[in-house]
């Protein structure tokens, strides 16, 4: 019974972390129409920032030179801040031009970050990565109970981020974003600084990814370059397409459905010969789901609800 509870705690932690990514994708794409494939690049930056800031002196064969030995909350905040700075650099040239460029540049950014993580040993400890990541409140809760605590802690953070995202969506800021997404010239013509709005939402989403990266290291207790492959970005994308773009509830539902299905597939791959086969089928399945939903069910499980329009009937009667 206790083992099942621990397993569930693990799954909930993972779903929580991915929910943050899906919420970020929703802020980018669902609200603002920005297509960034580089979510995982920001996650990696956040994760490594947290690891480096909270790190102690190197031991054994470690090759890294930089460590700050700070408490977890400093690392957590630093993860968000450093990621935001990176996002600002990426956004500076790309948000002014068409959406295609953002897709390509963020895609390339994610690949390059993964390369740098394995090459820059003095900063990231190379392919060995960081193990024994400092977890928050670890010293207060010893033993396996910590898994349960971590799941709860992550859920609390997810709820906070969800409320923020919800607020952003309904605020005038969110309305402007949607106006911009649906008709950019119109938004420009009523005096909205489109570039600035795009930049703000891009930074907000990236910061969420940075925090999610730090939380991912709490969950894994390690940070390796291979953890931050493109599949992380695409998982968030599939989740948002399945759940429905432009609303935060859809993001959560989509993540639960997707990760639930992935965990279920893990149960099938019990024997080692079957594992590569199952992972190939997982790719095919994810691709199929993406295409089928986009074609036949483009609004996803929970469609976006537009704010109620003003009553047109009255106006036409008067006219």
């Amino acid at each position: 019974m206790y083992n099942i509870l621990l397993f569930l705690a693990g799954v909930i932690s993972l779903i929580g972390i991915y929910t943050l990514l899906t919420l970020a994708v929703n802020l980018h794409y669902g609200y603002a129409g920005l297509l960034s494939f580089g979510i995982v690049g920001f996650v990696a930056v956040g994760a490594y920032t947290y690891a480096i800031v909270t790190r102690g002196a190197p031991v054994g064969e470690d090759v890294y030179h930089f460590y700050f030995n700070q408490p977890w909350w400093v690392g957590f905040l630093a993860a968000g801040m450093v990621t935001t700075i990176f996002a600002f650099i990426i956004g500076l040239p790309t948000l002014r031009v068409q959406g295609d460029y953002l897709l390509i540049v963020t895609f390339a950014f994610a690949e390059v970050i993964q390369d740098l993580l394995s090459n820059e040993g003095y900063l990231t400890n190379g392919t060995r990565g960081f193990i024994n990541i400092h977890q928050p409140f670890r010293e207060l809760i010893p033993g396996r109970n910590y898994q349960l605590f971590l799941a709860g802690f992550i859920v609390v953070i997810v709820v906070i981020v969800f409320l923020i995202a919800q607020r952003v969506g309904t605020a005038p800021f969110g309305r402007t974003l949607r106006a911009m997404r649906d008709n950019e010239p119109a938004a420009l013509s009523i005096g909205k600084n489109v570039y600035r709005f795009k930049m703000e939402i891009f930074l907000l989403g990236a910061a969420i990814c940075g925090f999610a990266g730090a939380m991912y290291t709490w969950y894994m207790t390690l940070a390796l370059p291979s953890l931050f492959g493109m599949s992380v970005s695409f998982a968030a994308w599939i989740a948002i397409i399945v759940g429905g773009q432009g609303n935060n509830k859809g993001a959560i539902v989509g993540t639960i459905v997707l990760l639930g299905a992935q965990q279920a597939l893990k149960f099938i791959s019990t024997s080692p010969e079957l594992t590569p086969m199952v992972s190939s089928f997982e790719l095919i399945l994810e691709g199929l789901v993406l295409i089928v939903i986009l074609r036949f069910w483009p609004s996803g499980l929970i469609p976006e609800k537009s704010p109620r329009p003003p009553k047109l009937a009255k106006i036409t009667e008067e006219a």
Binding site: G99, I104, I284, G287, L288, I291
Partner: protein
Amino acid sequence: MQFAVYGLIMGCILLLATVGFSMIRRVEGFLNIAHGQMLAVGGYSCYVFNSLLGWNIISSALAAVLVTSVIGYLVAYVVFFPLKGKPPLLIAIASTGASYIIQGLIEVIFGPFVKQYKFPPMRAIKIGDFSLAAPDQIAMVVAAGFAALFLHFLLTRTETGKAIRAMASNFNLARIRGINTPRLRIYVWLIASALGGLAGVMIGLISRLAPYMGWEYIMLIMIVAILGGLGSIYGAMVAALIIGLITQMSVLVIPPQYSQVIAFAIIIVVLLVRPQGIFKEA
């Protein structure tokens, strides 16, 4: 010198791959992430003809190009044609889905391990003491040159090519003027996929085939496309040679693991200085 030869070959491969990508971007208006997988399809089908069926390399390359062009068209027919009219970014997401399916199928059929053609490495032709390049390398450059010339004459000298250009610049106007757009779209997909397939065959000749190669190359393809000006076909040709030469020649001064970083730095600079690329969309 050896690096210059590699750079030239890399440039030719990127040229073939990116020209197809740019054609689709121009005519269909979206970024076809699945175009990278056409390279993988080309490479693997050449592997089937060459290593499994035992054909010689030239006939299996030709067969592979044909197979790839048909597969590319089928993918477009099943996935992209029904989505016509949807926002381009949405179709780009669908193309990543298609990309996943193709990669997964390749893994299921051929297994996750790398493959190689049955093709012995050739000795370089020597002029005096100066070793130039192996015959297969020269053949690749010549083939890429011919493909580029063929495309140029097709687009500028034939009715079909002119119609394709008309369709690329204004789809609806072309249709109203009586251009057979459905048939031309088929041609575009066939040509673009065939070029991608040829690039894939060449990748198999200079290195190995792996199921994830489509993802590795699509990034370079997109970088080349930005440098050349998104959707510009001649820009893509020039940019492909530049990127190929830079990424291979830079090995002389900078460690090889940074070639991707250099390519990335190039596009950031290009976007800041000249976002329309070397050539404007003409």
